[in-house]
Symmetry: C2
């Protein structure tokens, strides 16, 4: 029985990882699954234990560490827009709380005489990249984030690297591209439309497209993301050569290509539900984002993603609409 | 009168910056100079105020911030070997104390209604680079440090970037190459011999060379380093395009070339004082270090360094032996 902990376990990816661990386990072994978050969906599977707590609650975090999980998926974070708006909140949640958590794990490592060394899989982000960007970003491109969230993710990665190099934990950081098609409702994120223009029409609803069809962006499905986390949970980390932050694979396509894939699956009627309505603010934000990555490291380490956007649409239909 | 503060002001570079500020001021304006460190050389110029305090002393740091210096040279740090040996000490001094200091400056910024925004020049290091390195490292190469010190410097840079982007401070981080010829005595640092093989023979003493003459390394003089800090103190930071960490310029040469420059200046007798004595540990450490940098950004921003090693030797003789 592998003891697993998912921080941010109430979120979309956390919930999907939990479901995967319950259904398939890890490398064929069954898992004990604990989720921690400040809120959860109304129904949690009876095979999972949900702990309602903030990662900024020192007592709760100390207890979670004292339970000595074998594998920790660290997804808890204040999101990009929130971290940008509330400076203190972002730094406290994304940096200070993570540092406290890693230190609590280190104390368990020390108490165990060095035998306890959990696998920690940290959800980082393509937001670590910023500034002038090349058309295709290589694996060894510098991390010069232009947002508090991006800065905080770089710091989280560096903490995972150093605590791992010293042997207190055995961690790695996965830099996630935009995950699409996200189930649920549109939200205020600038990236919302990448999912919305597929999801809403498939549900017979209108979607707003706030940027031009020529916009290119890097995408992978929630299914791929879950696969990365479970793959990372059992990966031989000696293969990382000390480089413990890895940009995950993705495909890059234009909005026009996304729409064409929707048309093939759901026809012109679905496409007609997309309303073009340029929003200069969103156009400007999205214009500064990375468009394409070359990720030979991730591929060599066995991380996979879709190569055609139609596969991303199919994954959404299979996983969410059937 | 420009109010300046030098943290780590008791160290070699801190002392030289203070001397320069006292002699020449900044951009022609005279400076008020406060130094803070846990220890100082026996004699401090009467034109400088030395505060003996640790940057981990919250009360002292709050007071230093409340004094609202215009320009802060942040050099205080636990050094590489110490940070590697004592994990807690390194993280506490190099990360937590710096975060506390920046937060104290931010509080002054907020109290001032946003008018107080100090220039902060942070001493970072080429130790931010690690892992497999190209022969020549470009400005946009990733920071994948393989030491606690390097990780802590990356985190410091990221803090400076985010606090600056939000307008609380106006900072930049200078990544220093190996500074040579350091005055004083040889020390336990693996890099000690780069200075020692010049300094000791010029003083009529024996120097030990623990790695092969083919070893190539990037070097700049203390004089250049002082020039970078004072240049950074008054640089127009809008020219940085948000990329606030800059690798400083250096020259790369082999130990054989260093020795040849010594021979030209001081003859065969001086060279005969270098004793070859390979130390496999030091050879292995130095073998993992960056050798050469391509630094067009630093050059475009007006940072300069020596281009011939003989100029580094001359600088040492002029500044330390005359």
């Amino acid at each position: 029985m592998i003891k697993t902990l998912i921080t941010g376990g109430g979120g979309m990816i956390g919930q999907k990882i939990a479901q995967e661990l319950e259904t398939r386990g890890l490398d064929g072994q069954p898992c004990q699954i604990t989720l921690v978050d400040i809120q959860f969906p109304p129904v949690i599977s009876s095979g999972q234990t949900a702990v309602t707590a903030s990662m900024e609650d020192a007592e709760a975090v100390t207890r979670l560490a004292a339970d000595r999980p074998d594998v920790i998926f660290h997804l808890a974070a204040v999101v990009s827009g929130h971290a940008e708006k509330e400076f203190d909140v972002g730094w406290s949640a994304n940096v200070d709380a993570m540092r406290f958590f890693l230190e609590a794990l280190r104390q368990e490592h020390l108490k165990s005489g060095g035998t306890y060394r959990p696998r920690v899989v940290f959800a980082s982000s393509a937001a670590v990249y910023g500034g002038p960007l090349p058309a295709v970003i290589p694996d060894d491109f510098h991390t010069a984030p232009q947002s508090s969230y991006g800065v905080q993710k770089v710091i989280g990665e560096q903490m995972v690297t150093d605590f791992s190099r010293k042997g207190f934990i055995d961690g790695l950081s996965l830099r996630l591209p935009t995950i699409c098609v996200r189930p649920g409702k549109p939200n205020a994120a600038a990236s919302s439309a990448f999912s919305g223009i597929i999801r809403e029409p498939l549900n017979g609803e209108t979607a707003v497209l706030p940027f031009p069809e020529s916009t290119r962006h890097m995408l992978a499905s929630p299914r791929s993301a879950v696969g990365w986390f479970t793959h990372a949970a059992t990966l031989d980390t000696t293969r990382l050569d000390g480089l413990r932050a890895i940009m995950m694979p993705s495909l890059t396509c234009s909005i026009a290509e996304q729409i064409e894939a929707l048309r093939q699956v759901a026809g012109d009627k679905a496409v007609a539900l997309i309303k073009r309505q340029d929003d200069p603010d969103v156009v400007s934000i999205v214009g500064g984002w990375p468009q394409e990555f070359d990720t030979p490291r991730a591929h060599a380490l066995g991380f996979r993603s879709e190569t055609r956007f139609s596969d991303i649409v199919t994954a959404y239909i299979e996983d969410e609409l059937s």
